[in-house]
Amino acid sequence: MTYFPEEVVEHIFDFLSSHRDRNIVSTVCKAWYRVERLSRRIVFVGNCYAVRPGRVMARFPGMKCLSVKGKPHFADFNLVPHDWGGFALPWIEAAARGCPGLEELRLKRMVVSDESLELLARSFPNFKALVLVSCEGFTTDGLAAIATHCRGLRELDLQENEVEDHGRQWLSCFPDSCTSLESLNFACLKGEVNAGALERLVARCVNLRSLKLNRAISVESLARMLARTPHLVELGTGSFTVEHRAEAYQRLIHAFRKCKSLKSLSGFWDVAPRCLQSIYSICPNLTVLNLSYAPAIQGADLVKLIRHCFKLQKLWVLDCIRDKGLAVVASTCQELQELRVFPSDIYGTGTAAVTEEGLVAISSGCSKLNSLLYFCHQMTNAALITVAKNCPHFTRFRLCILDPGKPDPDTNQPLDEGFGAIVRSCKDLRRLSLSGLLTDKVFLYIGEYAARLEMLSIAFAGDSDKGMVYVLNGCKNLRKLEIRDSPFGDAALLENVGKYETMRSLWMSSCDVTLGGCKALAAKMPRLNVEVINDRDESDEMEENPSDMHKVEKMYVYRTLAGARNDAPEFVEIL
């Protein structure tokens, strides 16, 4: 066997971009493990509790980019208690000690304190990019530290975080010498920022390509900034209210016309329909359009806008677009790949905004569609079968029928056949979210056909343990399984315990799993952490030693090399 010199092997590994490929080559032999670990620059940790931070730093001393994810996905919907965990500080501390050359940090669903941000700001002289998604625990003081100390910062991207407002001065903390920003996103901040400081910052950062403002930024300010950044590619507007004859509005239109590179638009807080006309000139170039924060725009105005957007690849809208509006999207946006339709009136009793008809229309027009998130009031098997036939390229299919457990309104049947058609037709399906009335049968289909499925979300579905077992035994690439309010119990949980070591995590809440079942799982599988998360109220009333028959309200199971974590709050029991 011929051995390549290490430099050659390393060069070959450079072509491996996926983490999975690099993980696999590192298991070939010790030499390759060594070469791989010393040359790995981008490290992805899908579950912050699966491995100790120090171990990651020790293995990959050359790490430049680190991504870490914390809380389980259902934390987005308030199902995980606030102080469950997912702290960023240990990771930042370990990186400061072990990988001071760190340049990029991406955190998702983690608790990031101001202290962590301050440490981050001071510890990495080459730090370039900070991306925080769905995080919490920090204030604008932490942002001030980043702005102050991170010389050469290129990217500050805050997506959907909960940030406490401690004043507007943080933005002014970017020194006058800072000209390196390429991407700035503070759309999720609720408070005001110093508009003057922002405008000056934007003006001097000549490489700025992505700018996403928050609601507090006025149209006047936006117009001024756009005039200085004609090469902007992504824009998130601030508040979009302006009298449409006003001078500011005219300047805005003028500025938009100059932005020939603009491809992505979002924001539009408080937008009045008339003001949308200002962007008609950009629409033909747009590939990404996010109007999902603009409930004031009703169907007709949306349609007028979308008729101009024939290059659109990604569209996020509210369901006030109606089925009719989706039909227009279907005929206009032939390049559409991703569609998200969010509900605008969840608790109201208004007439159904979007139904299966809208989805069918989309599928017949947009054959390139591969990613869908669709909130609707009803769905039929026939529609899903049609969609499956029209769009066999789905990689992400998430359907949420707002009324839990609702059957097909035409036939009163469960939606097993519809979803079955989807998994049979879409061979590349990686992510699936189910809703509506579903029996064990749908899981039989999923287990049998969804060979590439990696993430499955189940709510109010199934009849018996068999459903869950079909999935566990069938989907060989399954990584994340999250289940709520479904009748799966201990028998299902314990049927295939080895499966969980091949997965990142399993979440079950309001199911039939008992404490005894969880204990049994933990006993059989020492390399899993089995967390039993008690509701606060419940733990007050609970007896000292709840019986094993006691049903577990929330359970989170994940594979780990790190053993039981030591930062769990008292309402989390790790078995």
């Binding site: 606030h82 509900p343 969840i346 608790y347 109201g348 009163n412 018996s464 509701d535 606060r536």
Partner: protein, 326 residues
């Protein structure tokens, strides 16, 4: 064992009486003629209320699928009720019933009540039952769940689905977007606030103590759930109205008099005045500073009798409320 349940089952008819239209509830609202195996429920009245114990998956040998009809709601007022009428059949397991059960046979069995939902043939699917989330407390069935129990009675209009925790699966900030939405999401955020009791004021879910003169037991209020003083004032009234009325013990007009007490909390004109203690230890009138500043400096609240105000020598801040002098 059966008797035990039937004793407790004594509570059940009361629960069922709350359901306005039982037969509608049994059938899916859009059903134009069933064909869904609800026949079993019509067989006899006893069967409607039959509670059975059984292990999961034990289907064979049971004669009839039993339908357990129950409404669940959290015992604490601050939590949202999670009763959802739904056309799907879902089992619900009652922990408190289980923990209170004494029958010896229960130890042998799984010890929980269970809806034996069993398709009798491949085409039928399980009996319908009210899907209820959250803990059951059959004893505390006195509170009517309000509109939540109302099923869809016609296929044209859709009754609002009652809020279920974490459903629909969208982020909280999206729930607040639409101006026309009712905002039960505030309730859900209060939910989280209750769970964060250990946190100090600087974290999310700003819980501060509030005491009222003459009421021995204080309350806690989550200031992050409100965005202006009017809403806070209303919340204070809701918190203490019942306690005050009970205190006063005047059966005839207790509620009116008690409600009157909460008028003018913010401007000094009422029987009581809302004051707070800030982070510098000063006592201040609520309403003087902008809301955001108030939220970031408040440490605790008090509802004082206005007649006592002069005696207390409140902080030197002069009353800034001008326009309300009407």
């Amino acid at each position: 064992m059966e008797e035990d349940l039937e004793n407790r089952g004594g509570a059940c008819p009361q629960l069922l009486d709350l359901i306005p239209n039982e037969s509608d509830w049994m059938m899916a609202p859009e059903a134009s003629g069933g064909g869904r195996g609800v026949g079993g429920l019509d067989d006899s009245e006893d069967k409607k209320l039959e509670l059975k114990l059984g292990l999961p998956g034990v289907g064979g040998g049971e004669e009839e699928a039993a339908a357990v009809l129950c409404l669940d709601f959290f015992s604490k007022a601050s939590k949202t009720t999670t009763t959802t009428t739904c056309t799907g059949a879902r089992r619900r397991l009652f922990e408190s019933a289980e923990s209170k059960s004494e029958g010896p046979q229960q130890e042998q069995q799984a010890g929980f009540l269970q809806l034996q939902s069993r398709a009798e043939s491949g085409n039928e699917w399980p009996h319908k039952a009210v899907w209820a989330g959250g803990k059951a407390d059959l004893q505390q069935s006195h509170a009517a769940p309000g509109g939540a129990a109302g099923p869809n009675t016609s296929s044209q209009t859709r009754a609002a689905p009652a809020p279920v925790v974490g459903w629909p699966p969208i982020r909280s900030f999206r729930k607040n977007l639409s101006s026309s939405s009712v905002k039960p999401s505030v309730g859900l955020e209060n939910d989280n606030a209750e769970m964060k009791q250990k946190f100090d004021n600087n974290k999310k879910g700003l819980l501060v103590k509030i005491n009222m003169d003459g009421i021995p037991i204080g309350r806690k209020v989550d200031l992050k759930a409100y965005d202006n003083y009017e809403k806070l004032s209303l919340a204070v009234k809701e918190l203490f109205l019942g306690l005050l009325a009970a205190q006063r013990d005047t059966p005839e007009n207790e509620n009116e008099a008690a409600k009157q007490a909460f008028v003018g909390l913010l401007d000094g004109s009422g029987e009581y005045t809302l004051v707070y203690e800030d982070n510098e230890g000063d006592k201040m009138f609520v309403g003087d500073v902008p809301w955001d500043m108030f939220v970031s400096t408040v440490k605790r609240l008090r509802v004082l009798k206005s007649s006592d105000l002069a005696a207390l020598r409140l902080g030197a801040v002069s009353r800034k409320r001008t326009a309300t002098e009407s």
